[in-house]
Symmetry: C2
Subunit: 270 residues, 2 copies
């Protein structure tokens, strides 16, 4: 097989299997090519991935050795994307009664969600988590976009128990903004004991939901290694109860009467 | 830039932007290479994508011309994947009280969900839909995996209205299996009028939920072009109310006492 053909197939393979160790003999057999040729292919792909700002190929020597694609997303690229996102979010038409902002269309846009996932994955790439955990509904696409890059499963906490989940663990918590008692439910078999998890949600105000997720994770003996929220907003009445998290945007002010929204970049960029 | 380097960058670009027309001058400028070289690169990539069974590059001549990656997933590859999935699903440990099957772990596995998305996208590639529509919660990952390939947005119907959605349209419907009256809610601004949609869900028994989705789509003047469900099961008490859909697996029998599950391939493979 020609080098250019091998490079198409290998680029495809790395992009489909991020963070996964692939042995060199696998490529040698698949393409019926010499190990030295495969190594040169890997150097070319690594160089281009670096140039494109999408990560590196990491080669490990030895018996259990191989090559692994470690995706990345530069802070500069991330910052540029978030600037464009803020422009879209500051459209006054997005203001909803109560001073909320309509974001569902952006969370339904695959290209945007996948880019958010790449930014978060770059932020959390050192964590070595076993699961990305989110709570239904809006955080789900974000969780999948992150898990795709980190190459780990997604676990979805529900608001209501469902018969198709089997036995569950549930907790009650007080939502920060509405002060209502709410419930979170998670199937017992969804997380292995002693797991490391990354918590993800679309929006955080007083932090009640994230706090609920943290309590629920304790029930599973899971360690919360990181917390990511797409948008954070200040709560006028209550201080934020969570102190260590990564946000991509911060909603500074929504003025319903004047029809203005003021959004800045999240803490990841400062 | 060398051919092999260009090919890495172009393969990456096509895979990130399926079903999107890219003008040849874009590549000519980006890589500072002759149009004839770019055309040869495209031929090589097209040939390898075809060999890998992941689709073709379609080149269009003329002023608005360019090249577009049309992803595909062969029925043979799909069938092989589904056989493996059935083996996992037939594990007696998955049986839940009431004869349900635990599937959340499989729907949380990115590699599996993305492959399901590729199979569905291949099944629906001719439809030219504007949105993939699903209902919270379990259909969401599947919907995103399909939308990623079809390059269209995802719209999520909720079970409960939420203040962050703005004004909504809601309908009540009778769930086939539980005979309970349930509600579906969708934000008014989520779908443009006259849209073509693909409905997606993880599970279908009597078809009540899909029927509810169809009713809701009528309220938005949307045309349902296709319906995809991961798993279908027969309802002993009620006939299926939906007749035109694609399923990947069919749950034939779950025997709680004997601890056996019998699953066959869905109608897509027959």
């Amino acid at each position: 097989m020609k080098r250019s053909e091998r490079i198409v197939a290998m680029t495809h393979h790395f992009k489909e299997n991020p963070n996964q160790m692939i042995s060199l003999p696998y490529f040698v057999e698949t393409f019926q090519s010499a190990k030295s040729s495969i190594s040169e292919d890997i150097d070319i792909i690594d160089h281009m991935f670096h140039t494109l700002g999408i990560g590196r190929l990491q080669t490990t020597a030895g018996a259990s050795g191989g090559v692994r694609y470690l995706p990345d997303y530069s802070k500069d690229n991330g910052s540029e994307f978030i600037s464009e996102l803020i422009e879209l979010l500051e459209d006054p038409k997005r203001i909803l009664p109560g001073g909320y902002i309509y974001m569902s269309d952006l969370l339904g846009d695959l290209n945007k969600v996948r880019t958010m996932g790449k930014i978060f994955s770059a932020a959390f790439k050192e964590l070595e988590v076993d699961y990305v955990v989110t709570v239904a509904t809006k955080g789900i696409p974000l969780a999948y976009a992150i898990a795709e890059v980190l190459n780990v499963p997604v676990v979805i906490i529900r608001r209501d128990p469902k018969v198709t989940e089997g036995s569950t663990v549930s907790i009650n918590y007080v939502s920060g903004s509405s002060r209502k008692i709410q419930t979170m439910v998670l199937a017992k078999r969804s997380i292995k004991e002693g797991a490391n998890v990354l918590l993800v949600d679309d929006f955080m105000k007083a932090g009640g939901t994230i706090e609920g997720m943290i309590s629920l994770m304790k029930e599973f003996d899971a360690t919360v290694k990181g917390i990511g929220v797409l948008a954070e907003a200040e709560d006028e009445e209550e201080d934020l109860r969570i102190d260590d998290y990564v946000s991509l945007v911060k909603i500074q002010e929504v003025d319903e009467r004047a029809g203005t929204i003021n959004i800045s970049k999240g803490n990841y960029f400062y």
